[in-house]
């Protein structure tokens, strides 16, 4: 691509559309963060809060990577590259935390 692109009308129109998406997204992100902070003080059972918190964090996370970081507009390979890193990190460290959860190592696994 060359500098000519910067003046290409279709490209500009697309950028303007994205600009409005960013503003909407920023407002939603702020709202969700506010909701998270309120939620932790609401007296509902812990599993419910945890699920909701995880969900809200995941929504914010994916919103940023898909729109602010352009992944939804870009080549799919970039999305999968990032997913590899993220999924591997998540899986490895979930396993590590599980390993540290074994409190009794002297019993048979079925008893």
């Amino acid at each position: 691509m060359s500098e000519a692109v910067a003046h290409d009308p279709d490209f500009l129109a697309e950028e303007v559309r994205r600009y409005h998406h960013f503003i909407t997204l920023a407002l939603w992100l702020a709202a969700i963060t506010g909701a998270e902070i309120v939620l932790i003080f609401v007296p509902v059972p812990m599993p419910v809060i945890l699920t909701l918190l995880s969900l809200m964090s995941a929504i914010k996370f994916f919103a940023v990577i898909l729109w602010f970081m352009h992944l939804i507009y870009d080549h799919k390979l970039l999305f999968w590259i990032f997913m590899c890193g993220m999924v591997l990190a998540f899986a490895t460290y979930a396993a590590l935390l599980a390993l540290f959860s074994v409190d009794r190592i002297d019993t048979k696994w079925f008893s």
């Binding site: 591997l88 490895t92 590590l96 390993l99 540290f100 074994v102 190592i105 019993t107 696994w109």
Partner: protein
Amino acid sequence: MSHDSHHAPVADKMELAPERSDLGLIRPDRTRGLFDWLTTVDHKKLGIMYGAFAMFFFLVGGVEALAIRTQLARPDNAFVTARMYNQLFTMHGTTMIFLGVMPLSAAFFNFLVPLQIGARDVAFPRLNAFSLWTFVAGALVLNGSWFFEFAHLAGWFDNFAWHKALVYTDFAPANGWFSYAPLSGTFGQANDALQAPRFTGVGTDFWIIGIQILGVASLAASFNFICTIVNMRAKGMTMMRLPVFTWMTLVTSILIILAFPAITVALIELMFDRQFGANFFNPSAGGQPVLWQHLFWIFGHPEVYILVLPAMGIVSEILPTFTGKSLFGYPIIVFSGAVIGFLGFAVWSHHMFTTGLGPVPTAAFSLLTMAIAVPTGVKIFNWLGTIWGGRIRFTPPMVLALGFIWMFMCGGFSGVMHSAAPADAQQQDSYFVIAHFHYVLLGGVLLGLMAGLYFWFPKIFGRMPNAGVAYLASGMVILGFNLAFGPMHYLGLAGQPRRTHTYHAGNGWETWNYVATIGAFILGFGVFLAFANLVYTAFKGNKCSNDPWNGRTLEWSLPSPVPEYNFARSPIIAARDVFFEHKHGAYKLAYENDGGEAGVHMPSQSWFPLLAGFGFLIIGFGMPLMSMGVPHAGWVVISGVGVMFLGIWLWALEGPGGYMLKTPADPLGAAAPANAATSAH
């Protein structure tokens, strides 16, 4: 846009007018000799330097090994002290892995990958140079510790206050290449100077910062290679037409970028424990030393696949060449390589079966470890399928590649024995483990890398190593290595523990230890002979043709040695093993309309990757100086960080530059198929 690159094409870079970068400094494009090598961004020259350093450090690690074996040849020996022995086996392991095998693999990645994919260089040439110089910095830091140790032993530091204040005076790393906490860490409470009591001296700090720097080098190179392989393939070079060596480079690089962060963090945590009184692994404060083992092996297990996959890639190139058949089951071999890489992240705790993980985790890791044997076995069957029915030419590379298959299999068998956790409980920390990993590393990786050296040397230097010497050296290596490590299976099961500087008579270990020492010396002479042969060949060997082996992949279509621009005109690929097809089959190599008088774009050389690497060298010595209590050593580290940032900043600002180099119009002129028929022996 800057117009640095838009001047007239030249036939040789020395014809360029001196040119200033965006910083106003003259670009070092017109240098020769030492300055040319220091500022080069040419992947081929960088590969040669990686290879030279690797071979040197292989010999250093070999000397350390021979010292170990001399000490162990007899019971109750006093050739070295216990402390020196610990330093020797630590440095032997660390040197061989990080300064021997990894850079030698990097040498092949650097030299071959752009040639095999039909590109003119890697995606980020200056980043490539940065990787090399950062590696050199790390190597100097790690081995610099020996100089401190010998200076200490010679008494040079005796009159210094900081030396008198040291509790422990071991200057070279001595905790094993895996440096387990709590031995490498701290205990108790940190004092006002943020120093907590510790069990080891400055050697551990040299190890921490040395490995950290080497990690940066490996990471930078891997990002570069993934980008290159994914993004710079010639027209028609689809992923499934890539040579297997390039595929293995890709998988290895992905393993590096995902595994090294774990050791980076583990090293940061250990460094914080030692330098700033943190409690990550400090048992007195509740730190969990076993966490170090987990984090280390989350890195360490993928690391061993990082070591072996390139050698497997090399063997996958050599076998088809010398049997005249295409690789049997190419897609499966590629897929198995990827599966091995992926599963490699799931098995780390098999190094920790005796730490009390619990029955469920132990069973899980045991099963997954056994599972990893499957894709490995698949590869071996495919290699056998390649050889079956072929017309085998027993050239030195082929002999070594065949040796790889056999020896690596033996190592795999002992590995599968380890995967059964109850059996491992006996084998852990015994010589059986040493036997296992030396079979896979020496019998596997070293033989594979040596095969690669003999195979590609004619391409790199245009000279053929003497076959007779090659056979002799290979024979000595294979014989010596089996003599050294074969008996260790028995010794391990008979109870000889690892990492002990001597043993008493009467356990029945004496004979085989003596035999192992003899084997080690034969192995050492064999490796030395092989390397000496190669070095001699580089300067004075017999010249050979461009395609002495009747090769299959793109690099054999180029002149030997390869010109700076690689391809006179960019190739267009129509099939796998495209050069072989071009010579003997249906598909012809076509070429794009680039190059010729209009020239091709060459990246400019630069001083700044070297400068940034030099910054790491300063950091690498500064941190241990801090641990030694040398006054103002913190400023050394800070200035090192400054130099490193300065190098990167200037690198960013100088602009990519570049110049146009004319290339010959006829791309295959110097490598016409007629040359391919000449065989090596």
